[in-house]
C-alpha cells in the first residue's frame, strides 16, 4: 500500500490506475502546470502517527488545490482520503490547512501558490484519517445554541408570511451565510486552547437568529451564549473573520453579543425590577 513512502509519487510511476481526471470536465487545451503537494497522511489501521507524503500531478493553471487532490486520487493514489462535494465553496466539506492557513480546497487557487503546497487536515479537530477530521464537537455545539427560529408570536401558515423589511433582513443576512466549514474553528486559537469554547460559527448562528425580526428566542440562547464557554471565551483574536470564506465575520457577531450580554447583565443586576431579557 502506498502511504508513507518517502520521495514523490507521480502519475508516471503509479501503478495501473489509468490517468483519469476525477472531476471537472476539461475540454480544450487550457494551460497546465505540475503541482507539488505535501499531504499529511494518517490511517488508524496502519499508522501510529501522521506523516507527510509528496505527490506531483499535472493540473490546469486556473485550477484549485482540490483539483490537484482529485488528480492524485484518480491517477496516483486511490488511498488518499478527504471530503469534498460542491467544488464551488458552498457545501463546506473541503476545509483543510493549506500552507498553514485554513482554506477550502475548492477555493484555494493554484495560481496563488508556488513551490510545494503543504496540505494538512483542519487544525483543532481530531484526525479521523488523512485529511478527514471528526467534526462531532462542532455539530454538538451547533445544536446547543438553538440555531432555529423561535417565533416571537407564532401564527398559522394560512395567515401568510411574517413581514420583514429589507432593512430588517439585512440586519442578520450576513450572519446567515455560514456554510459550517469550520475554518474559523481551525483558525481560532482560543478554541484550540480551550476546546469547550462554543466557538465562532455556532455563536454567530445564535446571533443570526437573535437579530432576526421574527425571532423571540434570544433569552433561551443566552443560556448558552452568555456563559463562560460562550462569547466570554472569545478574546477577539479576529482570526475567524480573516479566514471565513463566506464573509460571515463571526468576530463581529461575537463582540456584538458581548456588548448585548453586558447590557443584559446590568439590567438584570443593577436595575431594580430588570429581568435582563
Amino acid at each position: 500500500m502506498p502511504p508513507a513512502q518517502p520521495g514523490t509519487v507521480s502519475a508516471a510511476d503509479a501503478a495501473p490506475h489509468g490517468g483519469a481526471v476525477a472531476s471537472p470536465g476539461r475540454p480544450g487545451g487550457s494551460k497546465e502546470r505540475t503541482v507539488q503537494l505535501e499531504v499529511l497522511r494518517y490511517n488508524p489501521d496502519t499508522d501510529t502517527e501522521a506523516s507527510f507524503q509528496r505527490y506531483a500531478v499535472v493540473c490546469p493553471e486556473e485550477g484549485v488545490v482540490l483539483d490537484a487532490l482529485n488528480e492524485v486520487k484518480a491517477s496516483v493514489d486511490p488511498t488518499l482520503n478527504y471530503r469534498w462535494s460542491c467544488h464551488m465553496a458552498v457545501c463546506g466539506s473541503c476545509g483543510m490547512m493549506i500552507n498553514g492557513e485554513p482554506k477550502l480546497a475548492c477555493h484555494a487557487f493554484l495560481r496563488d501558490y508556488a513551490g510545494v503546497i503543504r496540505v494538512e487536515p483542519l487544525a483543532h479537530f481530531p484526525i479521523e484519517r488523512d485529511l478527514v477530521t471528526a467534526p462531532d464537537d462542532f455539530m454538538e455545539k451547533l445544536k446547543r445554541v438553538k440555531p432555529y427560529l423561535i417565533p416571537k408570536e407564532s401564527k398559522p401558515i394560512d395567515a401568510g408570511e411574517y413581514k420583514q423589511t429589507p432593512a430588517q433582513l439585512m440586519k442578520f443576512r450576513q450572519y446567515s451565510m455560514c456554510i459550517n466549514c469550520m475554518l474559523c474553528y481551525a483558525a481560532c486559537p482560543e478554541y484550540g486552547l480551550t476546546p469547550r469554547f462554543i466557538g465562532p460559527a455556532a455563536l454567530t448562528l445564535a446571533h443570526r437568529y437573535n437579530q432576526d425580526s421574527r425571532d423571540g428566542g434570544r433569552k433561551q440562547r443566552q443560556e448558552v451564549a452568555a456563559t463562560h464557554e460562550g462569547v466570554w471565551e472569545c478574546t477577539f483574536v479576529g482570526a475567524c473573520s480573516e479566514v471565513c470564506p463566506a464573509h460571515v465575520d463571526p468576530a463581529s457577531a461575537l463582540q456584538q453579543m458581548k456588548i448585548a450580554s453586558s447590557v443584559d447583565w446590568i439590567v438584570e443586576h443593577l436595575i431594580p425590577g430588570g429581568n435582563g431579557s
Binding site: P16, H17, V21, G28, C91, I157, Q164, D215
Partner: protein, 585 residues
C-alpha cells in the same frame, strides 16, 4: 452486525430528506426516525441551488398559470394530477420555510419578493439572493435540530434495501468512519438520495450525486422512470461546470454568439426583446432544453467562441451594472471572477450547457409511494412526474418540500398496523450486503481501475447521450454501458482498510452510476421521438401517439433491463405546442 430498529428510515439528508424528517417528527412525535446520509446534512447538494423556488403568491398570478407553465415546460410528459397537487402545495411549503426563518428576499413593504425565471409566465420564484438552495437547506437542517426524535446517522453510506414479504423493511449502511456495517430495520423507508449527474463528465452536480438512492431502489425491484430525460443547463462555467444561475437571465443577462447576435431569436424564441428588459417565457427566458439545444445548433454552424476551455457562447450582463449585480447576483459575480477570471461587470462571460438535473428517477405516485410497498421516494432521486420531459427552473426546490412532506405522510399511513418484522429474514438480506462488501475486499483477480472505468462511463454518456441523440450513438452507448457493467465486476479496490475508505465509496458509487446509466441509455434508445430534454436527430418530432408515456425500466439481474411504459395522466391540458416566441399568449 449491529441492528438499529426504527420506525421510518430516511436515506438522504438534503432538502427532501430533511423535509420528510421534520414532517414525520411534527406529525407524530412518538415516531422513531433515522436520518441516514453519506454526508453531513448541510453538505447535501441542495446547498448549491442558487436561483430560487417557485410558488404562487402574488395577486397577478394563479395556480392555473403555474400549472400550465409546468405542464408545457415538461412537454406534456408531466402527470397533471401531480402538477395540480404540487402548485397548490407550493406556496404553503415556501411559507412554512419562511416561518422557520428562511431569509427570503423582501419587497419594501416586508412581503416576500419574487423574481422571473425561465419558462414561467409570471414572476413567482422566491429567492434568497443567489443562495436559495443553501438557505433552504440550512433552514431545514437547523429546524430539524429541535426535534429529538430525528436521530441522525451522518456519514453512513447506505448500501442495500432490505425487502421481505414483498415490503421494504429497512436497509444496510456502512458507518464511514469505522467501516462497520449496520442494518436498519424500519417499517418504512424513504429514499431522498438526490440525482446522478456525476454520470457525466461535465456537470453542475457535486461529487456526492451518484444516484445511489436510485440504484438501491432499482436493485430492489422498483422501476426507474423517464431516466432518459437529462437536463442540460444552458449556462455553466466552461472549466469547472459551476452553474451560473438562471437568475442571470431573469435579471436581464443576454446570450450572444461570436458575432454578437442574440441567437435565440433564430430558434423560435424571438423576436428579440430589448436588452435589459427581459420578457417572461421568451428569448433568454425560454426553457432550459430549448436554450441548450440552440447552443448545439450554434456549435454546428460554427457560431461559437473558441476559448481555452472549449467552444462557448457568451452571457453578457454588463448592462445590469455593478450595483444590481452585487445585490442580486453576488455569487455569480464571485464564481466567474475566481474560477474563470472574468469580471461580469466588465466582460461577457463564456458559458456552455452543462448536465444539471435528472427529470427521471424512482417511479413514484403523487403520494411519493413507489410500486414497492413500504418504499417511498422524494426529491431529485424520485420521478413523481412533476417535471415531465423538462423541469422548469425553480420547480425542483419546491418539489423537495412538497413531496418530502408527502412521503412522510404516506409513510406514516403505511406503518399503521403493520405486522411485526421478521428479523431473521431481514438479516439474511443484510448478510448478502456483507458478503458483497467482503468479496470486494478480498477480490484477488481485480483488473479494472475504478477511475479508468469511471472515465469511460462519463465519456460514453457525454458522447452518446448528450443534448442530441441518434439511434447509432445510443446503441453504442447501451453496449458500452453493458460492457462497463461487466468489467465493473472485476474492479479493484486498492484501499482495503476500514476507516473512511473513500476508495471503497467511490467504487460503490460507480456501481450506482452504472446502474443509473443503464436505465438512461436503454430508455433513451427505446424512445423514438424528440420531447423536452430528449432530442433525437433521427426522430426530430414529438410523437404523442406512441410516446405520450413514461418509460419504466426494470432491472433483470444480469440480463438487460426490461423497458415498459406507463400512461401519462392528462386531466385538463391536452398536449399542445410549446410556444416560446414573443407572440405567445
Amino acid at each position: 452486525m449491529e441492528t438499529i430498529t426504527t420506525d421510518v428510515a430516511i436515506i438522504g439528508a438534503g432538502g427532501a430528506g430533511l423535509r420528510a424528517a421534520i414532517a414525520l417528527a411534527e406529525t407524530d412525535p412518538a415516531l422513531r426516525i433515522a436520518l441516514i446520509s453519506k454526508v453531513y446534512p448541510m453538505r447535501s447538494h441542495t446547498c448549491a441551488a442558487e436561483g430560487g423556488a417557485a410558488g404562487v403568491i402574488k395577486p397577478d398570478d394563479s395556480f392555473d398559470f403555474h400549472f400550465h407553465d409546468t405542464v408545457g415546460g415538461g412537454d406534456w410528459l408531466s402527470d397533471q394530477d401531480c402538477v395540480e397537487y404540487f402548485v397548490n402545495e407550493a406556496p404553503k411549503e415556501l411559507l412554512q420555510l419562511e416561518h422557520w426563518g428562511c431569509p427570503w428576499n423582501r419587497e419594501a413593504d416586508g412581503s416576500v419578493a419574487v423574481r422571473p425565471f425561465g419558462g414561467m409566465k409570471k414572476q413567482r420564484t422566491w429567492f434568497a439572493a443567489d443562495k436559495s438552495g443553501f438557505h433552504i437547506l440550512h433552514t431545514l437542517f437547523q429546524t430539524s435540530l429541535q426535534f429529538p426524535s430525528i436521530v441522525r446517522y451522518d456519514e453512513y453510506f447506505a448500501l442495500d434495501l432490505l425487502v421481505d414479504d414483498g415490503r421494504c423493511q429497512g436497509l444496510t449502511a456502512m458507518e464511514m468512519r469505522s467501516g462497520q456495517l449496520r442494518q436498519f430495520h424500519a417499517k418504512a423507508v424513504i429514499i431522498a438520495g438526490g440525482g446522478a449527474g456525476r454520470m457525466f463528465p461535465f456537470s453542475t452536480n457535486g461529487a456526492i450525486k451518484t444516484g445511489d438512492g436510485m440504484a438501491m431502489a432499482y436493485r430492489a425491484g422498483a422501476p426507474l422512470k423517464d431516466m432518459e430525460f437529462i437536463q442540460y443547463h444552458p449556462t455553466g462555467l466552461p472549466n469547472t461546470g459551476s452553474l451560473l444561475t438562471e437568475a442571470c437571465r431573469g435579471e436581464g443577462g443576454i446570450l450572444v454568439n461570436k458575432h454578437g447576435r442574440r441567437y435565440l431569436q433564430d430558434y423560435g424564441m424571438g423576436p428579440e426583446t430589448p436588452v435589459g428588459q427581459p420578457q417572461l417565457k421568451t428569448m433568454e427566458l425560454g426553457p432550459r432544453d430549448r436554450l441548450s439545444q440552440a447552443y448545439w445548433h450554434e456549435l454546428q454552424k460554427g457560431n461559437t467562441v473558441s476559448t481555452q476551455w472549449g467552444e462557448c457562447v457568451l452571457l453578457d450582463m454588463r448592462h445590469l451594472g455593478a450595483k444590481k449585480i452585487n445585490e442580486r447576483l453576488p455569487l455569480v459575480h464571485e464564481l466567474a471572477e475566481s474560477y474563470l477570471g472574468v469580471d461580469i461587470v466588465k466582460d461577457p462571460v463564456p458559458i456552455r450547457p452543462v448536465v444539471h438535473y435528472m427529470m427521471g428517477g424512482i417511479s413514484t405516485n403523487t403520494r411519493a409511494a413507489t410500486p414497492l410497498p413500504g418504499l417511498f421516494a422524494a426529491g431529485e432521486c424520485a420521478c413523481v412526474s412533476l417535471n415531465g420531459a423538462n423541469r422548469l427552473g425553480s420547480n425542483s426546490l419546491v418539489e423537495l418540500l412538497v413531496f418530502g412532506r408527502s412521503a412522510a405522510l404516506s409513510a406514516i399511513e403505511h406503518i399503521q398496523g403493520l405486522p411485526a418484522a421478521n428479523a431473521a429474514a431481514l438479516n439474511v438480506g443484510a448478510e448478502a450486503t456483507q458478503a458483497r462488501i467482503r468479496e470486494l475486499f478480498s477480490r484477488s483477480d481485480g483488473s479494472e481501475s475504478m477511475s479508468g472505468l469511471r472515465k469511460e462511463m462519463t465519456d460514453t454518456m457525454e458522447k452518446n447521450v448528450g443534448i442530441y441523440r441518434t439511434e447509432e450513438g445510443l446503441k453504442e452507448g447501451v453496449a458500452k454501458i453493458h460492457e462497463l457493467r461487466e468489467r465493473y465486476r472485476r474492479v479493484i479496490l486498492t484501499d482495503r482498510t476500514n476507516v473512511f475508505n473513500t476508495d471503497l465509496f467511490q467504487v460503490l458509487e460507480l456501481g450506482s452510476m452504472l446502474d443509473c446509466a443503464e436505465a438512461v441509455t436503454v430508455g433513451a434508445l427505446a424512445r423514438k421521438e424528440s420531447r423536452g430534454a430528449h432530442q433525437r436527430l433521427d426522430y426530430p418530432d414529438r410523437d404523442d401517439t406512441n410516446y405520450l408515456r413514461h418509460t419504466m425500466v426494470y432491472r433483470q439481474g444480469a440480463e438487460p433491463p426490461r423497458v415498459d411504459y406507463l400512461d401519462v395522466v392528462i386531466t385538463r391540458s391536452p398536449p399542445g405546442v410549446r410556444d416560446y416566441s414573443g407572440d405567445h399568449k
